[in-house]
Amino acid sequence: MTLDSKLPSGPIEQAWDKTRFDMKLVNPANKRKHSIIVVGSGLAGASAAATLGELGYNVKCFCFQDSPRRAHSIAAQGGINAAKNYQNDGDSVYRLFYDTVKGGDFRAREANVYRLAQISVSIIDQCVAQGVPFAREYGGALTNRSFGGAQVSRTFYARGQTGQQLLLGAYQALERQIHEKTVTMYPRTEMLDLIVIDGKARGIVVRHLVTGEITTHFADAVILGTGGYGNVYYLSTNAKGSNVTASWRAHKRGALFANPCYTQIHPTCIPVSGDYQSKLTLMSESLRNDGRIWVPKQKGDKRKPDQIPEEERDYYLERRYPSFGNLVPRDVASRNAKSVCDEGRGVGESGLGVYLDFTAAIKRLGEHVIRERYGNLFDMYQRITDEDPYKVPMRIYPAIHYTMGGLWVDYHLQSTIPGLFVLGEANFSDHGANRLGASALMQGLSDGYFVIPYTIGHYLASNKFAKVDSSNPEAQQAVANVKQITDKLLSIKGKRTVDSFHRELGKIMWEYCGMSRTAEGLEKAIGLIDALREEFWQNVNVPGSGDDLNQSLEKAGRVADFFELGRLMCVDARERNESCGGHFREEYQTPEGEAQRDDEHYSYVAAWGYNGPGQHPELNKEPLEFDYVHPSQRSYK
């Protein structure tokens, strides 16, 4: 398949303007005659649904939670980037563009990233107008902080609850449209299949999570804003419900899945404490500004941290990266933590942890300064671990946090199925092989508020839409497919719970397709996943029925898709014989042990087509070209 990314020609600064001018418009009076389905009510979905409603389209919005306000976006802490340059510290659209392309290790499309940087400034204006209480100076102006190693202060934030406040802004805009009756909201409703008629996405099959009813919805176009797939690892910082099902079922209907192996691991999370562990909690990376990371020099040293003398400690980041020290990027910090633990020098009961020590900072600055900077984070740490980080060093360990891969989309955010658009973390578009901190919120809102309202109009104005309903054979086939999966899951009545399978899958993924990967390990993982998947379909125990609320059934459907996705991630990781961003292949490293890219052979997007379960997928390549930011090796020594 040849991939047409519909990239604009001409200078990058004018590309989005020109594209907007070239696009067809839908006559205002005709807008309400077009119906649009939006699946997802996170930052991406809610902002899209609200804005399309404001424009006058007839919108239906779906989410699996009881209210659109609870989407996973609510949990984002740190902030949102924008090239406002309010701090007069040298920021610009071009610099944000440059940082994002470089941070993505030269595996993102330049034109998309440039547009994102341009739009970033309007996002902040819109959110302020909605009443988002961003942090401010005493004089009343908006304030910023620097985040994720950026050299300028461009991150806007609302305490440690930026995602919550941005999502509430979008949710309130959405509720306003619900009141205006331009949007109909369907909470507790899960999309389980995509209906493709005459080659176009025309509807979805959903299951109502309380009544168990399976129904169809039709529209002229379908938008997915269904989030990322980090939960394939079972333990991650994502909300428990985050899943890949909507994307995956669309993939099975023909949408290509791009760069699935690009996953982001966050270095500072609270370590796993037992088998019952259900999720991992992120501790903001700002802690690395003042904390020093270390492990004992000696293997298996079980002494308490305060009994280990200075000369027996290994401050390994400071030792290996004298110029960046504890502030190396996320991927580098994570990999180093893993390698010292693999050597047997990890701390805590499980040996999977490293110390993040504030003793020196407290001595230098005083406890009150540290309390002022990080008080709320220290409290959260203490609430969870019952240890006082002012006295005992924190224990941290890396955890899966974000997925850069997702459904392939062109510059218009349209997938390879005409009429199916994908926004937010669910698409693959803007972060390349590694996402910078505070850029996911920016991308979700850019897609929803400012890109899709234009590009979907162009699609609607350029196509004709035959009338479709549930009697169409394609719709009937999709409904039958969903019923068949549900019935099958309920009929097995085997011996193992869904969670036990999910946990085991997560362990395989983490071991072989996590922080560092090898061709051999990935090969092994594929075999293990195939075997586990087979066992799942013979031995899973899903109690209850499909006719009422059944949380085991919901989970089972999602885990079934995670098996197939996990396999594809391993295939993608094995195929990419280079290291880049979050993808580290042990065979491809510099003599100093850093990631080694291979631009000559791998400067492309890997977009995979589905060929059936357990079948080898089809690889399509979209070459990447860099006309503005020239690829270079990242170095933090």
Binding site: R69, R70, G131, P133, Q165, T184, V210, A239, Q277
Partner: protein, 264 residues
Amino acid sequence: MKLRLKIWRQKNRNDKGSFVSYSMDDVNPEMSMLECLDVLNETLIERGEEPVTFEHDCREGICGSCGFMINGIPHGPQRATTVCQLTMRHFKDGEELVIEPWRAGAFPMIKDLMVDRRALDRIIESGGYISVSTGNAPDGNDILIGKDTSDRAMDAAACIGCGACVAACPNASAALFTGAKITHLGVLPQGKIEAERRALGMVGQMNTEDFGSCTNIGECTAACPKEIPLEVIARMNQDYWRASAKRRDDSVKPVTPVTRWNAK
């Protein structure tokens, strides 16, 4: 540690429901209340029984999905902590925990510990926003907002919409929830313009739903995991009275509460 969990089990709205006791012999004090229920559920499934249904998502105290009563207290005994962040070390070995869902007329039962909180969304729908469409906004720094004002807005905006305030209130009133949104938006210059219309709409909706009225008892703020202050209710009343006194906008009509699920 050992615990006895006395949990409310109810198949659906029409079922009568009753408490069922489960004993757990090996509770790790580090696990959260929800992880404790996960462990119980795994054993129930293995025994061929239906697991306990409860709502949850973020497990970080921010999405507002989780929540139930533990020994009569919403979200349990720990101050400013949701059940997803409540660790078992706060209970004593051998203790009995009575676990039951939020009970309020406006929150119809769904199953076990899960209730229908859509009434809260309808209150927001009836005015809990600033009417600004995408593209309408001036530059973010065109309107300066003092840090104190912005902090006050943020304090109120921290509400996670879990419903603990309603469950705690002897009258099952939603005044703290409604007041929080009215305060968040009303103190900001952008939100002042619509303050009266907003109060009419939201309070009107609150009264239309099956919530009780506020008699200033204050249980709500004590139970609130985000410690929303009681003063938001005073602000709500102020805006509402002022608006009612000079009401001219008759177009503010409440939304009809629905309790069925097959939305048309």
